[in-house]
Structure formats: C-alpha cells, structure tokens
C-alpha cells in the first residue's frame, strides 16, 4: 500500500483515538448567550433586527436527551410607517424545551424544540395590526438546531444555536433567533 493511500487511514485512526477524546460533564447545566433576532416576512418590514440575550437551565436526562427551560429578551426598532419613528420595543420569551443530540469527540450536535410564552413591551405594532389593543401576550413555539464545542475543561462548552419561533397571537409573527453561548455543566 502506497504512502499516499495510508494517510487517510492514519488520519481516521488518529481522530478516533481515545488519547484525543475530550471528556464532557453530564447532568445539570446552565447556558448564557447573546445573539440577534431577525423577524421573517411578512412582518420583516415592520420590525428591525435586534440584539438578544438568553439563558437556559436544564438537565441531561440521558447522554442524548435533555430537558430545559429558557428565558430570552430581544430589543427591536419598530420600522412601522411613521409616525412613530425611531421607537423601540422589547420581546420577552420564556418556555420549556427538549433537546436531542449526539457527541462526536469535541463536537456535539443537537436539535431542539419547545413551547412557552412571549410578552411584548408596547403596543407600537398595533399600527400594523401585529398586536391588538390590550394584547401583550402570545403563546410561543420554537425549534432549531446547533452545535457545541467542548473545551478542555469538561464543564465548559461553547455553542452556536439557531432557532425559529412562532408567535400565533401576534399575527403569527415568525423570527429567527441565532445565538452564541457558553454552557456550564455541573
């Protein structure tokens, strides 16, 4: 077997080698991250992209399954037809979710989904009939995927997640929440 043909085999063997396997804690975890929320059509013209922060607490039930609760907040400029102009509002979301994933050495991949509640801080979107008078709450549904990179310390991982969420009571507003986060597993 030529040397050129041996290299891929050697690379695979090295990657699978237990010497490079990075241990990761399992159990209760906490995540904190920041990112952005981008509203999708048909409301994209009325709500600008806004910064977001989120926290999540959960527990790994099995190596591939975890349950958690999350809280998120994002702030957006309302780009509705003037007036008003240059006004902002906040969207607060909370709920529970289920995460299914798997680990490939240092990389963990997951998909997640859940439901909860959303609160909007003002009625500025009444003008474009996203909200109605007196309506501040909506059920929320979300689903998405992401990956984590396990750091050398078995408790810490860096993650990147992207979720889509739907708020039926807010004229079925849909948005993408993308975040970079740090996870600590106890």
């Amino acid at each position: 077997m030529s040397a050129m043909r041996r290299w891929p085999i050697v690379a695979v063997l090295l990657a699978a080698s237990p010497v490079h396997a990075r241990p990761a804690s399992s159990g209760w975890y906490a995540e904190g991250g920041f990112g952005a929320v981008t509203v999708l059509p048909k409301h994209r013209d009325d709500v600008a992209v806004g910064p977001a922060i989120n926290v999540r607490i959960g527990r790994d039930l099995f190596s591939w399954l975890s349950l958690g609760i999350s809280l998120a907040a994002s702030s957006h400029e309302a780009t509705v037809p003037a007036p008003p102009e240059g006004e902002w509002f906040q969207l607060y979301r909370g709920g529970g979710d289920l995460r299914i994933g798997g680990r490939l050495d240092r990389i963990a991949l997951f998909i997640e989904g859940g439901a909860g509640l959303a609160v909007i801080s003002s009625n500025i979107l009444d003008k474009v009939m996203v909200t109605e008078p007196g309506e501040n709450f909506s059920i929320g549904f979300h689903g998405g995927a992401g990956f984590e990179y396990q750091l050398e310390n078995r408790h810490y991982a860096l993650g990147l997640g992207v979720d889509a969420f739907l708020l039926p009571q807010f004229d079925a507003m849909k948005a993408i929440d993308s975040r970079l986060y740090l996870r600590y597993t106890y």
Partner: protein, 282 residues
C-alpha cells in the same frame, strides 16, 4: 429580599413602557382625526385654500377610583386649591408627527401644540388680549416653528415629554392663575414649585400690568394638572397632510386603559374642560 426587589424593579419597568395612541378610523369624537390635511383648494372656486386644519385627541384614561377621589378631595381641602385627578408626573406624554407634502413644489408648514387639562382648555383663538390689528395673536403652547418640506417629501418631528410637561404648566398658569399667555409660554416653568395667581385680565384696561391676586392661594406643584387632551393646529403653505400619534408613559401605573382608544367610552374618565376665554373690549 433580593428576589423581591428584582421582581419589583421588573414590574416597575413594565409599568413605564410607553403606549402609543392615535385617533381611530371611526372616532366617536368628530374632532379626533388621525390625519389632517390643509393647503388644498377649498372648493369655492375663488382660488382660496384651506389655511389650517385642527385635530384633538383626548387621552384614554381610566376612571378615578372612589378612594382616590376621597383622598384627593381631602388634600384639596388642606391645600385650599383644586387638586387634579391627572397630575403633573402621573403620565409623560410625547406627540410624534409626520408631514407629507402632496404638492409638486416645496413648501413650509407650522405645527402648533395646544390642549386642555381636566379643568380648562387653551385655544389661542379664544384668548384675545387686544383688538388692535397690529397686536400679535395669542401664542400657542409650543411649536409654530417654520418647517421646510421638499416637494413630495416627508418630515417627522416630535413634541417631547418635557415640552408637553411645560405646555401643561403653561395651561395652568394661563387658565388658573391668569398669567399672560406670552409670559407663560416664553418663560421656562417646568421646574417651578408653585404658581402665583394674578388678578384676571381687565378688558377695559388691557394695558394694565399684571397684579398679584392678594386673595388667591398659590397653587403648589402637587396640584399642577397634566394635559389630558392634545390639540394640534397645522398650517402649511402647500397641500400637505399631517399624521400624528401620542406616546404615553404611565408613570403612576394605573391611569391608561388597557384597550386605549378602542375602549368603551363608559370605561374611560369623562373630562369636561372649560374653554378659557378672554375678550378684549373694542
């Protein structure tokens, strides 16, 4: 203890979130117009135009609770002056507007802010201090700064919270304390601790200087009323429209009705401010 404090801070922040109100499409009040238009041909065939347009919006405020009314009446008896339901500091109001020039030529426009507290309404057209043709008309509470709008263009602006607060105090000075409207509007009063009433304007002696009313009790700041009605006067030189909305922060936390302008009138506080009038003798 720390958790309770955090929850209180969160609740306080939510109570301070602004609400935006505008006149509904089919308002029960015919003077409440979301969009007003002026500068167009008035249809008489004489080449004249509609010189100005007006609109007014009464804030959708919850009815006063009986126990609050009782406490307010007791405080009024202690102070010896009327204490309003909607006081300065209970709400913070800003008015955002957008002018659209519908003409093919550039033009100028004036936007004037007037309004009413629960006691009195101020309309400069009803305050005539002199019949002399050369005398300046009574001023509006704010605005009236020439604005230039290009052909087919738009211009947005705002009467800020501090401007509306100042306008509220000016209404109090003019209507409850007989202060000359020019003196009230040209001086910054937003930090005044009290208003000293003057003797009413004497139409038979319009040149007489203001005299402090020796029998009147000064109005303390805790008895200053806030505007509950926003009046706008729009005067363009070309055919233009003005659209506006009112941004309100409910500082007290229980003043604004949840349904805002969609609320049933029976669920709102009914205000009946008296139009303040002064008529100079010819």
């Amino acid at each position: 203890m720390k958790q309770r404090l955090g929850l209180l801070v969160l609740l306080g922040a939510c109570a301070n979130d602004p609400v935006y109100v505008e006149c509904p499409d089919a308002a029960t009040d015919p003077t409440c117009l979301r969009v007003i238009e002026a500068g167009q041909d008035d249809g008489t065939g004489m080449g004249t135009v509609v010189e100005e347009a007006k609109t007014r919006l009464v804030l959708p405020i919850n009815p006063e609770k009986p126990e609050d009314a009782t406490a307010r009446a007791a405080r009024a008896a202690e102070l010896g002056v009327d204490v309003p339901y909607v006081k300065l500091g209970d709400i913070e109001v800003a008015v955002e507007w957008t002018i659209t020039n519908l003409d093919a030529e550039e033009g100028d426009a004036l936007v004037e802010l007037d309004g009413a507290t629960e006691f009195f309404g101020y309309d400069p057209d009803l305050v005539v201090l002199s019949t002399d043709d050369e005398a300046p008309p009574s001023p509006g509470l704010d605005g009236n700064i020439p604005l230039h709008i290009p052909a087919g263009g738009t211009l947005s602006g705002i009467f800020r919270e501090d401007q509306v607060r100042e306008a509220s105090i000016d209404i109090e000075q003019i209507t409850r304390a007989n202060v000359n409207p020019f003196a009230a509007t040209l001086k910054i009063n937003k930090n005044d601790a009290l208003i000293q009433p003057f003797l009413p304007f004497d139409p038979l002696d319009p040149e007489a200087g203001p005299m402090i009313d020796p029998n009147a009790i000064p109005i303390p700041r805790e008895a200053f009323a806030h505007m509950i009605r926003i009046d706008l006067v729009f005067s363009p030189t070309r055919h233009m429209t003005l659209e506006y909305n009112v941004r309100i922060r409910d500082i007290r936390g229980d003043m604004m009705n949840d349904k805002l302008m969609a609320a049933d009138p029976a669920d709102l506080q009914a205000f009946a401010p008296v139009d303040f009038e002064v008529t100079a003798a010819p």
